[in-house]
């Protein structure tokens, strides 16, 4: 801070160095102290409260059934997400196409899958086998290539992934559509003018640029999907983390420590995903903005040789 002789009452002191004293904020200190005391009290209470049954928590944290549940949850998450992304891109492209049939089919899909709860959808997928007991692959009314029995246990895993993935596709479609719309019209026009077909234009010009807008919310969706897998009991698929924890607590009548076990695992996985998302977002934000950050401004100010103005005012 350099003092300026701004026509104030003391012109003589203009050259003196002012000793800056930060503004005192007693309210903040009091609030921080109160919150800190409450947190310490809660941790002390939780650690000493016998109802939390920490010994049970410890003995089940790495139980084989739990770790198998973690594995199933991860599989469900990534399978459903992969299906959601692929189908979501297809739906977004359909919604943006000029073909009225494709457009309205995509709209109807979004309307149904975004308009009904995912839990209800999962129950429906569980009842799929009672609606269509046999599934065959082939030419209608003619030849059959393959035949599936869809009443096995494996089928419940399949339906859980399918149900979550089809629901996710509706949300991904909107994210992808926003991404595609964010790419300027001139880009696809320039590609068309070079003789590129529409699919080629999409793949080589529009979608790569849309990624900057698509990636960050897709990371959110992935984290959200991990937690949504706890609903697959509706199918009913019982191999996932939450169902496994419930099953164990159903046998030993200790729900609280087992919920803590499940929560610990969910939190651990989402933390890893959040770190990944942080770096992905940083990567895709590159070159997206021409305004300079405070750090860049500081570097610039230094380069110009004006270090005392290197703060936020430059």
């Amino acid at each position: 801070m350099t003092p300026e002789p701004s026509g104030a009452a003391q012109p003589g002191s203009a050259a003196d160095v002012i000793k800056a004293i930060p503004l005192r904020r007693p309210g903040r200190w009091i609030a921080a102290f109160v919150i800190l005391v409450l947190v310490v009290l809660f941790i002390y209470g939780a650690a000493t409260n016998a109802n939390f049954q920490w010994s049970t928590y410890r003995s089940y944290l790495f139980d084989r059934r739990i770790t198998k549940g973690v594995w199933a949850t991860l599989q469900l998450t990534f399978l459903a997400m992969a299906l959601g992304v692929v189908l979501g891109v297809a739906l977004a492209v359909m919604r943006l196409s000029a073909n009225p049939v494709l457009k309205s089919v995509a709209w109807a899909y979004l309307w149904v899958f975004r308009g009904t709860p995912v839990y209800v959808q999962l129950v429906f997928w569980g009842l799929f086998s009672s609606i269509y007991p046999h599934l065959s692959l082939g030419i209608p009314f003619a030849h059959q290539f393959a035949h599936f029995d869809i009443q096995s246990l494996q089928a419940f895993f399949f339906f859980a992934a399918l149900g979550l993935g089809l629901n996710e596709a509706a949300y991904m479609a909107e994210i992808v559509r926003a991404g595609i719309s964010s790419v300027g019209e001139g880009q696809s026009e320039a590609a068309t003018a070079l003789g590129m077909s529409w699919p080629l234009t999409m793949r080589r010009v529009v979608l790569p640029q849309a990624m900057r807008v698509i990636i960050p919310p897709t990371g959110n969706e992935l984290i959200s999907m991990l937690k949504t897998t706890s609903l697959v009991i509706a199918v009913p698929f019982t191999g996932d983390l939450y169902s496994q924890a419930r099953q164990i607590s159903g046998a030993n009548f200790r729900p609280v420590p087992l919920l803590m076990v499940a929560s610990t695992w969910y939190l651990a996985i989402t933390s890893v995903l959040m770190v990944g998302q942080y770096f992905l977002e940083k990567h895709y934000a590159k070159g997206s903005s021409r305004t300079m950050t405070a750090r860049q401004l500081r570097v610039l100010a230094k380069a110009i040789g004006n270090p005392d103005r290197g703060g936020d005012g430059a």
């Binding site: 880009q187 003789g195 010009v205």
Partner: protein, 255 residues
Amino acid sequence: MSVPQTLAAPLLSVRGLRKSFGKSVVLTDLDLDVPEHTCTVLIGASGSGKSTLLRCLNLLEVVDDGVVELDGQDIADPRVDANAIRSKVGIVFQAFNLFPHLSVLDNVMLAPRRVHRVRRQQAESDAVAMLERVGLSDKARARPDELSGGQQQRVAIARALVNRPRLMLFDEVTSALDPELVGEVLTLIRELKSDGMTMVVATHEMGFAREVADQVCFLDGGRVLEQGPPAQIFGAPQEPRTRQFLARIVAAGRL
């Protein structure tokens, strides 16, 4: 089709071209002939249909009615392969429209590689040669946003030229440039003209139009109101609307 007639006929011949967007008619009964190895400059007020005409010639707009013959083939016929036509007609836009996620070299190589299926090595040497042609071989690895506007526009020209088009269209290619960068782009177009490239140029640079044009077309109300050699259009315009337009340009200090 007889060969001598094709040789005698102009490279591009437009008859009775009509284009409207909804209820607003942009081009009506427009006729235009562009002989091979010549430069046709389109002048006219904003909204007179210059850009729309160029976009129709490249099939970026679907023509409502009329005949557009390129090399004796009616390209306005909906049965033609539009993508094949587009690679015979290069266009350069006012806003450059380079692909920002690709390097300069990849911008130039994209169409040869993916549309014309040229082998990578061949496409790369073609692209490098074309960048050398526009004086930017040292920028091959740069991203478009690291280039000045004039350099970006020269890359856009190289990107269109690398497909060896029969006809080049320039749509107000210097209008988005800072004044000191206009020169380098106009110099490049001048050089293309002396290389014998056939081109149609829409521009507001009247000095450049006078110098480079073989024929000047004044567009007004969606048709070619007056056309002729530059000396005639700029020196002794016949139509009152042309005189009015040129008087306004002179008043603005642009001629």
